[in-house]
Structure formats: structure tokens, C-alpha cells
Amino acid sequence: MPIKRVKPGDFTRTPIEKAPDPQLGHAIIAKERYTSPDFMKLEWERMWKRSWLMGCREDDIPEPGDYVCTEIGREAILIVRQADMSIRAFYNVCQHRGNRLVPPGIGKLKSFKCAYHHWEYGLDGDFVRIPDKETFPQGTPCQGLPEVPCDTWGSFVWYNLNKDAEPLREFLGVIPEHLDPYHFDRMAMTRDWTIEWDCNWKASVDAFNESYHVQGIHPQLLYYLDDLDIQIDCYDRHSRYLVPFATTSPRVKETSDIPPLIRLIMKQAGMDPADFDGKTREVRLAVQKWKRENGASQGYDYSDLNDDQLTDDYHYLIFPNITLNVHADDLMLFRQRPHPTDPNKMYYDLQNFRLLKQGEEKPERPEHRFYRHGEKSLGQVLDQDAYNLPGVQLGMQSEGFPGLWLGDQELRIRHFHKVIDDYVYGVGEAP
């Protein structure tokens, strides 16, 4: 029984049309891009330094003087709420002897004072005070903290290391039109973890860009989602797939009892599985109907979302490194950051958000936690992903493995690497 989807003519704000599949061939994806320091350097110079990158949430820095220091590769960027409530971003480096001004994380300061010789900068990056200024006969550096382009979208703050970058909206392309209906600004962060993983950052992006692995490492999800009836859409540099949740995979027999994970979806919506007489594969539409009818009285405004969005996973890759499991009531956001020097390591930023009820006070932001691989459970599904990735990275270094042999279910991975190639080698210039 095929999945019933929202179709043209039904209510939707997020575009639902299937994008034509890009013709990207079937060639092996060379493995060296996951392991080579040379590729890592090219990637840094030509891709990371030219892409808009997610820095923080707007509400991480609500008041003047609030700042986030975020790291990308060897750089650390200060994102600072200004006196006039605008947001600006600077390199986190003292112009005197190169010391980093503040450690990574969230803070609040009236000015940024270097701990070494107390050179001091205002929230706007300008010099406030240089001790013994008269002992610098050459004067002071002509600028304060070097600034980088910074803008906001979707409740997030973005920055770009290229001072001549295209506007953020241009870079994001279809993304705002697709995701604005979810109103991320109405969601509150519930978890903010970073885990150091022993793999290249792209191995992590790949892991979330296909559903083929569900039958491999997440067999329990075959009783939670349909991993085969999936719509894949590749855009200019971003991509998405639409995964039906609250149903079972055609790979398994439909069960007479509703599976526990699907019961959980029903309960989260306020339904009682014990009172449901339908079949397992009827639950998805029943939950959609229930949420449409009861959402408002429960304090949730779903009016900008289509019916599928009330149950399904709309999964987006915002190039290069943001993967989003977007749901009506929550958002699971992964930001994959490269290690500064080692292509075999990365930082996996895991942030969860939940939709607040109308009028609900925003809870306090959770503190950021840092863990090493395997130190802390991320929950069953993500543990299964995490457990697998170091083995992938080790295998990439084997003489016995030439590269990735991708199938149709992995089209988004092929597209992702094509876009990286466009940055690294020039459009259509990949070797």
C-alpha cells in the first residue's frame, strides 16, 4: 500500500514538488576526500571560507554584550549583540600578538580585553584602550577586530569568512521558503551537545543523507517509518528528503499490534493508542487528522504546515554542514564541523529544539556539553550511527577500498559531493 502524500492542490506552504533528479552518473566517490590533509586544505580554502556557516541562535545572544564564540576549523569567530541590537561577527583574535580573546562558548561582556597585554575592544570591534599606546611609534593597527559578514535567518545567526560573500538569502536559495512555515523562532533549545567523533565531517553528513542504512543499523525503525517510499529532492547546493513517519516499512510485515515507537508518536500527539481500532498503517493519517483538529486547543499552531508535515520527517541538508530533521513539534539539528588539523576527526554538534505552546514562557537555555565519542549515550538511534562511524573512517584508509559505491537511495550523498567538488575544483572542473 503506497504512502498517501500531500499532492498538488492540497494545502501547503512548503513546496512539495519533486525536483528533477540531477544526472550525476554512477562513478565511485574517491575516498581520499575523507582522509587526505591536502584535500582538507583545499576544502578549507575554497569551501569553508566561502560558505555561509551557522554560528548560533539569535536568542543565544538576546542583549547587548551577549556573545557566542564559535569555532570552525582553525578559526574562532565572535558573534556579538550590539548596543543597537544588531548582530556583528569578528575574528576572535587580538591584533597585537595574535592571542585569542575569549574561549569558545557563550558569554556576556562590556568589552573584549585580551588577557595578555590588556588590549581592549568594544562590542563593535573598535579599540577601546591600548596600554602604553605611546610606545608604539608606528601607531595602532588601522582596524580593530577584523569583521566578517553576518546575517540572520530562521532564528539562527550565520557568518561567512569571505568578506565579499553573496548575501545569505542568495546562498540559502530555496531553504527559507521551505522551512519558514515551521517557525523555528517558536521553538526552544532542549539539548546542546558537542561530541568529538573519529571520522571526517563528511562521513557524518553522509550518514544522515540517506535512508538506505535504516535496514542496516536501525532495524527498529522499520517499525516507525517507511524507508523506501521516500521523496528525494536535490537543489542547487542544498537537498532534502521526505520520510513518512508513524508507519511501517514495506520491508517488514505490518503488525496487528501497533509498534511501541508508533504508539509513542500517538501519545505525543495526545492520542491514546489503546483507544485506536485502526491498523498500524492507518496510524499516520489518523495522527495527521488528530493534530489538525486538536493542535490549536493544545496550544500548537500548525496552520502553516501541510498534513504530511504533521507526522513526517522533512530532512534537509543546508550546505555544507547542517543536517536537519524537521518536524511539526521539534527540530533535531546536527552541525558537523571539521577538526582544525586532522581529517580523521570532527565535531558533531547536536542540538534539539521543541515547539513551545502559544504563550508558553521560553525555558532556560541548556548548558553546552562536550563529550568524546562513546562517552555519553545520545539515544538509541544516534548511538547506532555514532558507533558505526569510526569503522567507516578506518575503512576509508584501507588499500582494499577505492571509494564510495553509491546507489539510487544515496543520491543526496552524490549530490553533496558534487557541490563540494564545484567549490573545490570549480563548477564542472572536478578531476
Binding site: 532495524p219 527498529q220 522499520l222 517499525y223 517488514v252 510485515k253 505490518e254 503488525t255 496487528s256 499490534d257 501497533i258 509498534p259 504508539r263 501519545k267 491514546d272 493508542p273 489503546a274 483507544d275 481500532d277 491498523k279
Partner: protein, 253 residues
Amino acid sequence: MDLGLKGKKAVVTGATKGIGRRIVETLADEGVDIAICSRTAEEVEETLAVLRAKGINAVGEAVNVRDGEAYKAWISRAGEQLGGIDILIPNVSGGAGMDSEKNWQRNFEVDVMGSVRAVETAVPFLKKSGEGSVVFIVSTNAIETFAAPMAYNALKASLITYSKQLGQFHGKRRIRFNALSPGTIFVEGGAWDMIKTSQPDFYNATIAAHPFGRMGSAEEVAKAVAFLASPAASWINGTHLIVDGGYTKGVHF
């Protein structure tokens, strides 16, 4: 040994899948005419086609057991369509679950009242049989702690008591009543099929705890049901038969 089932007429509730499905196929193979119900019409039709291909008369309808009046009306209709009822097998279940208080209501309505209403509606037919037989499908969850404290377990247990007392009460009408508890039975699309895929460690540990190193099949349950239901079991009344390959630990004196 001839079970004496040929030409008998059986009503089996919830018989399109799993153990119930295997029971009706086994009875049909013995030449029994069958009436079945389930929640969905397509599944009823598919099952009836399979049963009729065995050369017996099979009738059935989509019925929601929780709708007591509709359910009783169907039992009567089934008796009329078959031209009598010799065998009644209340098999349908509301299933396990610990979602809310409604699980108790659900198992009460489906497992308990689904059996009670079937018996009360079928007794006028069964007493005309002369060899009437009722087999309640219970569960070893009723006799031993398993998994979690659930309405399913406790309410299934009530059927054992109910069955014993019916056996005394209706003996003079020549109707036998017995309860049968399947143990861990592997059925495609059943709970253990899901657990095998989604919780392989738990599945393997359960297998390992079985004396025979495997779970039972629906067919093994169906054969025991067929025997208990048949005239061959004429002197077995008010008992509770455990069909679990020796998996449960309790001793029954």
C-alpha cells in the same frame, strides 16, 4: 485416530492472521465448515477464499468486537449461515499495551466480553450440537509473570476461571469448555517478528530460554486447539492446556 471433526461447524473470532488463521485452516483441513470475523473486510475475503479452496463452507464478515450488539448479531448470523455451531473458539484479542487505563477497557471489551458475548450468543446453537465444544485462547502471560504487568495478562487470566465454571454449568447441555494457553509463538507480522527485528538481543535471549531452543509455531497451537475442540477430546472438560514447548517454569499439579 479420527478426530471426528468432519462436517462440524466452527465459529472462530479474529481468524484472518496469526494463530487464529492457522486454527481455521487446520479445522478446514479436517473438513470443518467455518465462520470467521476480523476488523477488515479485505482480510476476511482473502481468508475465506483460502478456506473455501479446501472444499468446505466458509462465511465471514468484518466486525468490530468492541461493538457488542453488532458482534452478537454476527455470531447469531454465523450460526444460521452455517446451519448450527458445534465449535466456538473465542480467539480475538485487544492485544498487549501499557498506554493508559484504556488498555484495561480495551482488553475487557475485546478479550473478556468478546468471549462472554460469543459464548452467550452461541450456547443456543451449541446445545443443539450434542458434541458442543468451546476453546478459549488464553496466553501463558496469564499464568506466569512475563514482560510487564499489563491488562492483557490479568484479563486473559479471567478466562481460565470463566472457562472452568462454564464447563460445570453447561455439562448437562453436552458442551465442553476448555482454555488453551499458547506460549511464545512466532508468527510473521506478530509481536515476536517485530521483536526479532527491533530487539534482536531480547529475541535471542528468549529463544535460548526455551528447552527446544526455538519458539512455537501457530500450527503447533492449531493442532492442539483442533484436538481439544474435537469429539476425540470428549472427556476433557474444564481444563487448561498449556502449549509452550515447556517454556514456562510453573508446575501444575
